[in-house]
């Protein structure tokens, strides 16, 4: 039953995106607000991430656009007097703040209840000592490390635990030297080095688990103590590569049921001991030779794993968790009608495979060490969902290609030496190297030995190669088309391989009836009657997806996160969905980023988890016959392809900037306009700053207001309007101005970019994305426009600064360019000295 004392909950937001954290926290906060609202509980959110849908969609008075700090949280508690606080959706920072709130007895002082975490679970996070105590309590094995003082002591220990082991000096003068030893000879050398390094003449010895399978299981528990498993994830890469940099598979593929049941039991026991209410992830290292396992991590707060679990199973994890923390049990929760009865209570089943491939930022950050190791280097990921492992792998690969061109990947140029080196010390293009090695007929057993990847996965890749062979050998035959389709090959891929055009391949598909069938992503493996509107494609017998509406908008999501304004674009995409829906369209989103906010089921009427490729888009368009196809963000190649199909009414927002823009090298500030076919109206001025000397390409720091003398402004507006009338831009248009020793000069014109549109939304009382969508769907009237501008007002001050991943990725760089951003923060407090 719901705790009647909780009417107002403070939710701590995740702050700006960073390495290891995209929009998944914001998506979770947003869905939690929706779920709270359903039972009449009010939410308050603190977050300074400008790209937060949660702070946009909530009542403005309940959104605190402030840095997520202890002081700010305390101030909100004092101001608002919330009944409870929810720290689980704000990443490690929110947990740290909450740990302090408990320590300082602030929660007790203001009678604020802690939701989502027991005191024990809160203490556990980031506390290795507490973790080992907990594991002792539940009698689960962990990798223990022991401090030794002498060779004799070390040798005795190793005789007990066995090789391989890792030796580390205690308080080393040299940073983090870790030596893996496989024999007593290795050990002797490592010890002598490490004792010398250690300022205390001591070493830590721990068992090496490099090469073990890495698995994680997510469970959920209600206040009555009922516990069920949501899903399991297996990393294809063994321990040694950070889990965030590993290719991940759900459900788990390569362990037996009896081994799985041991892990399941451990997960549930740990959750019981911690009195988790909501979800919890437990990670394991499993020795593939004897199935011994160790618990490596317990995560009782929201992370990427939870987002993946939701996407993989179709279980409404965020919605349910929000209800559980309020006191409801599984049986008490009323889900939306789309779900079959008792869905909250049924352990999710999967009749599909989801594979996640990480995306690395090495194109934008050339100086990063590209080798994958124990620290996470990927900044995004893309998933492929299919009915077989092969299909899911290939779809994930198609989804993870930044460039939407369909090409069969090839690494012919790699020398054998370099290949073996990369097999042992993997880099970003891992999967392509594995495929190339198989192409060169390296035996599966040897590859498995070198990479510690289960042979099962090499067998799957071999199957894909066999299909590739068939495709190459038999162009344009029914047999090769059908086989390729069923293994996840895209039509574009086949067109490229067959050196023909896409339409020809598609025609053959229709002729031979090899067309996609869409399968519902629901948690009962077809045993219950769900009407969830989330789908992925397969090539089978039964199609479950039908045209949603004769007035639908298909919105093409951004796919996996990259450096550059991607989390902004995902936010922008979400806003487009919201606004299209409000304008009476049924909205359909196509995306493959498990961490995106735009895939939140509450934001669209229908979701397709598919590669963002022209063939896949056309397939969906065939079923949905959308009235409009919206492409948020600049994607020249994709847009050019789409425009070849005049039946698709394609709208690019902001308009495609491939041609027609004038961009100066330097600029000082921008003048923003809203332009219709009849007129152009001045909105405001925004200061543009960069780390380096007003270079346009580096500009990512925006500030408002930008003060300028009224007369000068009037003159500039006249110049600007002239320039605008000679261009063909409509909607949000930006004029770039350079200030030089008191003189102002109009130097450029372009459509207002995504991050600046969002900034404009944040500082004014107008939703400019709504205005754009209205304009582009011919629904903007002159009255609308007049009313908007009559009531237009701005907040007094705002600045938005980019966040760069340089420290996380150990890059020696301070100033970054727009395409190196990982996120941004917004500040609405005027500087003190003004």
């Amino acid at each position: 039953m719901i705790n009647q004392n909780i009417n107002k909950v403070l939710i701590i937001g995740g702050g700006p995106s960073k390495v290891g954290q995209e929009n998944e926290l914001d998506a979770a906060v947003f869905q939690t607000i929706v779920s709270f609202k359903r039972v009449g509980v009010k939410s308050i959110v603190i977050d300074d991430n400008p790209y937060s849908i949660a702070t946009t969609e909530i009542q403005p008075a309940s959104a605190y656009i402030e840095a997520v700090t202890l002081d700010n949280v305390v101030a909100i508690i004092q101001n608002e007097g919330p009944d409870a606080i929810l720290p689980t959706l704000g990443g490690p920072n929110a947990i740290k703040i909450c740990q302090k709130l408990v320590e300082m007895k602030i929660l007790a002082k203001y009678s604020v209840e802690l939701l989502g975490l027991s005191k024990a679970a809160l203490k556990l996070i980031g506390n290795p000592l507490r973790f080992s105590q907990l594991m002792k309590e539940v009698q689960e094995p962990i990798i223990s490390s022991t401090i030794v003082h002498s060779n004799a002591e070390a040798f005795d220990l190793v005789r007990q635990v066995g090789f391989p082991i890792i030796v580390k000096p205690v308080l080393s003068s040299i940073n983090s030297r870790r030596t893996i030893c496989n024999s007593f000879d290795d050990l002797e050398i490592a010890l002598s080095e490490s004792f010398t390094d250690s300022t205390l003449n001591r070493c830590v010895i721990e068992k090496s688990i490099v090469g073990y399978k890495e698995l994680s299981i997510i469970g959920i528990r209600d206040p009555n103590g009922t516990k069920l498993i949501i899903n399991g994830v297996e990393d294809i890469d063994a321990i040694g590569i950070h889990s965030g940099d590993s290719i991940a598979v759900s459900p788990i593929q390569t362990i037996t049921d009896s081994v799985y049941q041991r892990l399941r039991k451990a997960t549930l026991n740990i959750m019981e001991q911690l009195e988790i209410i909501g979800a919890c992830e437990v990670s394991f290292a499993l020795n593939p030779d004897n199935n011994d396992y160790f618990v490596t991590k317990v995560t009782p707060n929201y992370n990427r794993g939870f987002a993946l679990a939701t996407l993989a199973t179709g279980y409404p994890l965020n919605y349910v968790t929000a209800q559980l923390v309020l006191g409801n049990g599984f049986a008490d929760i009323h889900l939306p009608h789309a779900y079959a009865k008792l869905t909250t209570f049924m352990e999710p089943l999967m009749d599909r495979i989801l594979i996640r491939i990480p995306l690395w930022p090495f194109d934008s950050l050339k100086t990063v060490d590209q080798h994958l190791d124990q620290s996470m280097k990927s900044i995004g990921s893309a998933v492929g969902i299919g009915r077989t492992v092969e299909e899911a792998i290939l779809k994930a690969m198609r989804s993870s290609q930044f460039n939407p061109r369909d090409v069969l990947p090839n690494m012919e140029e790699l020398s054998d030496d370099e290949m073996i080196s990369q097999l042992i010390h993997p880099k970003a293009s891992r999967i392509l190297v594995l495929i190339e090695a198989l192409r060169r007929n390296y035996p599966v057993e040897d590859l498995s030995e070198l990479t510690k990847i289960d042979p099962f996965y090499f067998k799957r890749l071999q199957k894909l190669l066999a299909v590739e062979n068939l495709v190459v050998k038999e162009p344009l035959t029914e047999e090769s088309l059908r086989t390729a389709h069923r293994r996840g090959f895209g039509d574009g891929m086949l067109a490229a391989a067959w050196q023909t055009d896409l339409d020809k391949v598609r025609y053959l598909g229709k002729l031979k009836n090899s067309v996609p069938t869409y399968k519902m992503i629901e948690p009962s493996a077809g045993e219950e009657a769900h009407s969830i509107r989330s789908f992925y494609s397969s090539f089978e017998r039964e199609n479950e997806s039908h045209q949603l509406s004769d007035r639908s908008a298909l919105v093409i999501g951004r796919g996996g996160n990259r450096l550059g304004p991607n989390s902004a674009a995902d936010y922008y995409t979400s806003e487009v969905l919201i606004q299209m829906h409000r304008l009476g369209y049924k909205t359909i989103i196509m995306n493959n980023n498990p961490n995106s906010v735009s895939l939140s089921p509450q934001l669209s009427d229908k979701q397709y988890i598919e590669p963002i490729q022209i063939g896949a888009i056309l397939n969906i368009a065939e079923i949905e016959k959308p009235a409009i196809v919206v492409v948020p963000g600049n994607r020249h190649y994709l847009v050019r392809q789409l425009r070849q199909y005049p039946d698709l009414k394609v709208v690019v927002l902001p308009p495609d900037q491939e041609t027609g823009v004038t961009l100066p090298q330097k600029t000082s500030f921008a003048m923003n306009f809203f332009v219709t076919k009849d007129e152009s109206r001045f909105i405001n001025t925004v200061k543009l700053a960069s780390g380096k000397n007003h270079e346009l390409k580096d500009i990512s720091h925006l500030a408002f207001p930008y003060a300028i003398d009224d007369d000068k402004l009037a003159g500039l507006i006249t110049d600007a309007k002239e320039l605008i009338s000679s261009s063909y831009w409509k909607g949000l248009v930006q004029i770039l101005v350079l200030e030089d020793q008191g003189l102002f000069k109009v130097v450029g014109i372009r459509p207002i970019r995504i991050i600046e549109t969002i900034f404009l939304n944040r500082i004014s009382n107008v939703n400019w994305i709504k205005m754009l969508v209205k304009l582009y769907t011919n629904q903007l009237t002159t009255e609308d426009l007049n009313k908007t501008f009559k009531n237009l007002s701005f907040i007094p001050f705002a600045e938005m600064k980019p966040k760069f991943p340089f420290i996380d990725l150990k890059v020696d760089q301070e100033v970054g360019s727009t395409n190196q951003e990982v996120g941004a923060e917004i500040n609405l407090d005027p500087p003190e000295d003004e």
Binding site: N224, T256, K265, A331, D351, I353, V389
Partner: protein, 357 residues
């Protein structure tokens, strides 16, 4: 790749690719929604004469290992999957599923839209099906003409008694199609076990000097078994602590005047919430049932309902009011599936212990 067909009684036909044996077989088709443990399901004697459709999209991933058998004789009629995935062999799995099925003359078909099949069978209920080379009229005629046996128990249960020695309590397991998980759980508790054939007489059982009796799982409809079985249970429950599982549970219910009915939708999986009534605890257990005890037919003066499936309301456990005899519909040994309910074996042994005191 050999193209073969799965054909159903309702006239539908599913082309797919053969793996395992190329035999032509007919059986009852059922959906198994466990996410793992294909070997345990395939070797479970309760699936005797049935064709199993796995909703887990791929099977074969971990080969066949000696620890996951539920019986030595495998007598299912076929395996249907979206994808058969083999792997290399190693010391843990020395045989592939494909080889195993070939050795046991069991056909498999892969490449089938098992999700569509799950929809169909959930809607229409269990039906007859065949795995054939050609899906012509003749094949359908054959399928329709086939009368499936109702003598499954006598076909799978051991014809002769055999022991599984231990130092603890002397447990007599009556085999109706015993899954080995039950023996493993008793073995872990150091029981001295004698497995006897399903039609063993009370006198013969008494001569073995039991401390407790286990009535095992098994295939088929309890109504197809001779009434003498019911009499045996009625006699034994008054004399010894008794644990009945699966088909055994259904027989135990009948022996105490309850009725058993055929489920419209069979359930073979481990995702239903099951409430233990005495503690209100909800657990997830390994279930495989085509029949259920009719709740309304239970004489409350004789039997107490102990577990209930919260999804379909089926009775999942019973306890006798007067004797230390109880039963569960689900498989407390797991295999495949959760093992949380294996404390039922402890409960059984406690019953024996307190009886002896």
């Amino acid at each position: 790749m050999t193209k073969r067909y799965l054909i159903l009684e309702d006239g539908s036909s599913y082309p797919g690719e053969a793996f395992g044996a190329l035999a032509t077989t007919t059986g009852e088709i059922i959906i198994n929604s466990n996410m793992m443990g294909y070997q345990e399901s395939i070797t479970n004697p309760i699936y005797h004469n049935q064709i199993i459709v796995f909703t887990q999209p791929t099977i074969g991933n971990v080969g066949i290992n000696h620890k996951s058998y539920e019986s030595i004789v495998t007598s299912i009629k076929g395996v249907i999957t979206r994808e058969y995935s083999d792997t290399t062999l190693n010391h843990q799995h020395k045989q592939s599923l494909d080889t195993f099925l070939k050795q046991h003359e069991i056909p498999g078909i892969e490449g089938i839209d098992t999700r569509e099949l799950a929809h169909r069978i959930t809607k229409k209920g269990t039906m007859k099906a065949s795995i054939v080379d050609v899906d012509d009229e003749h094949a359908f005629d054959q399928l329709n003409a086939t009368v499936l046996t109702n003598q499954q128990v006598s076909q799978v249960a051991t014809p002769k008694p055999y022991p599984n020695p231990g130092n603890g309590f002397n447990i007599i397991v009556i085999d109706f199609g015993l899954k080995q998980g039950i023996l493993r759980r008793l073995d872990e508790r150091d029981c001295n076990v004698v497995v006897v054939p399903w039609d063993t007489s009370v006198e013969r059982i008494l001569s073995l000097d039991p401390d407790g009796i286990v009535i095992s799982t098994g295939p088929g409809n309890p109504a197809d078994l001779p009434k003498s079985i019911i009499k045996t249970i009625q006699s034994l429950q008054t004399q010894f602590p008794l644990l009945a599982i699966g088909l055994g549970h259904e027989l135990f219910a009948i022996a105490n005047n309850a009725k058993v009915y055929k489920l419209e939708t069979e359930h073979h999986g481990s995702n239903h919430p099951v409430r233990k009534i005495i503690t209100n605890q909800v657990i997830y257990v390994s279930q495989a049932q085509g029949y259920a005890v009719d709740y309304d037919s239970i004489d409350r003066n004789t039997l107490i309902t102990t577990y209930i499936d919260l999804y379909n309301g089926t009775v999942q456990g019973l306890r006798h009011r007067d004797y230390p005899a109880f039963s569960v519909q689900f498989s407390p040994d797991g295999e495949p599936g959760p093992t949380i309910a294996s404390d039922i074996f402890d409960e059984f042994l406690e019953n024996i212990g307190s009886q002896r005191r």
